[in-house]
Amino acid sequence: MAEERNIAREFEVLNKYGIHARPAALLVKAAGKFECDIFIGRKGDEVSAKSIMGLLTIEGHQGARLIVRAVGIDAEAALLEISALFENKFFEE
């Protein structure tokens, strides 16, 4: 059986409009593909990355530094996919 992993990484929100509805939907879709639990937020204040409404409340404006934490057997793959979204500015300006 694969090992249960609990890993975290910090990201900066780069796109101008931050994590509004469209980027939130991208995150939810990406997160939904994985078995592991994924959380996004700040220390002591995180929400599930599989919840649109949750993501809108974390105030991911441009420049915000957010911690993404993944817990489960496919945590590494999940983090990789999510980091691609942050790095590509959620395909926005």
Partner: protein
């Protein structure tokens, strides 16, 4: 779609009080141009531009003018018109055709009709009927409902629960238009949906069989037809399916050449589909009223973020 004089007569007997005076054997002729022509100008002898592929309507003006001509002129002008192989002649205001018209109709095998209507009313109504008869139509797999004025076509594979969802919505007070197979016809820029006459107002529920909706739920549970507004597709829940999560940019689907908003709703145990279909229709209605909740929330979120970073 090609229609014949016979098609027009069948519909027109009632709605146009149309009567065939001559030409029983020549009704298979197609109406090539779905418009009517008043041949006043042609009767004055001007044939350079004459809408000869259209049905020719003789009203009071044409009759009065013809009567002002000498009998030779009258016969010559009318003959010139019939020689153009016009599809048919309609006489309004229930007048008797002039003997020349009658004779020429027979000579040129041109069906001759009469209506009791006055010319302008006849032209309006007949144009509408020609549009209806030639409108693009299709039989589409799907259950049609009317939810608070919104026409909803429910699609999805057999057994997904379209009829059961429809029954649930009927229970909530909405109306059934057609179960499982819906007839669609273009009406101007819109699409009208209705049921096939034979199966109309019936619904098939697995395990129960065919039920007659108005007998069970009353006449308010049915509608003869409804204009299509949105298309909803029910599909089995799959984790990786691309489904709408924000509702800011719904997809669309073409029906008879017109685009309609399209919503793919995943079905899984415990999801009350009737409830979700109802919410989809009502949310669409809200958008029509100028209130797009998803977009407004997004704008609010973006506004808050921009203020935070001082932009």
């Amino acid at each position: 779609m090609a229609i014949t004089l016979k098609d027009l007569l069948e519909t027109g007997v009632e709605r146009l009080s149309l009567e065939l005076m001559w030409g029983e054997g020549y009704l298979d002729r197609e109406i090539e141009e779905k418009a009517l022509n008043r041949p006043g100008l042609a009767l004055t002898g001007f044939f350079q531009y004459f809408a000869q592929r259209r049905l020719q309507v003789f009203g009071l003006a044409e009759f009065t003018y013809l009567k002002s001509l000498s009998s030779e002129e009258r016969a010559a002008r009318l003959r010139e018109m019939f020689e153009k192989n016009i599809p048919g002649v309609i006489i309004s205001r229930n007048r008797n055709p002039l003997p020349e018209i009658r004779a020429l109709a027979e000579e040129y095998k041109t069906p001759l009709f009469r209506t009791t209507m006055i010319t302008s009313h006849f032209i309006n109504e007949c144009t509408l009927i020609l549009e209806e008869l030639t409108a693009p139509r299709a039989r589409i797999q799907g259950t049609m409902l009317e939810i608070m004025g919104i026409g909803v076509l429910l699609q999805g594979q057999a057994g997904i629960g379209k009829s059961e969802t429809a029954l649930s919505l009927i229970g909530r007070g909405y109306s059934l238009v057609a179960d499982d197979v819906t007839e669609m016809v273009r009406a101007g820029g819109r699409v009208m949906a209705f049921a096939h006459e034979l199966t109309r107002y019936h619904i098939e529920i697995r395990g129960v069989g065919i039920v007659h909706v108005p007998s069970l739920y009353g006449v308010s549970a049915i509608r003869r037809d409804a204009m299509l507004d949105i298309v909803i597709n029910l599909h089995p829940y799959k984790n990786d399916a691309e489904e709408e999560r924000t509702g800011i940019q719904p997809g669309n689907i073409e029906v008879l050449g017109i685009k309609f908003p399209y919503y793919a709703l995943p079905v899984s145990p415990g999801r009350d589909m009737a409830n979700i279909v109802e919410a989809t229709a009502l949310n669409y209605k809200l958008k029509l009223l100028g209130h797009d909740a998803a977009k407004e929330l997004d704008e609010k979120v973006i506004g808050t973020f921009l203020r935070k970073v001082g932009k």
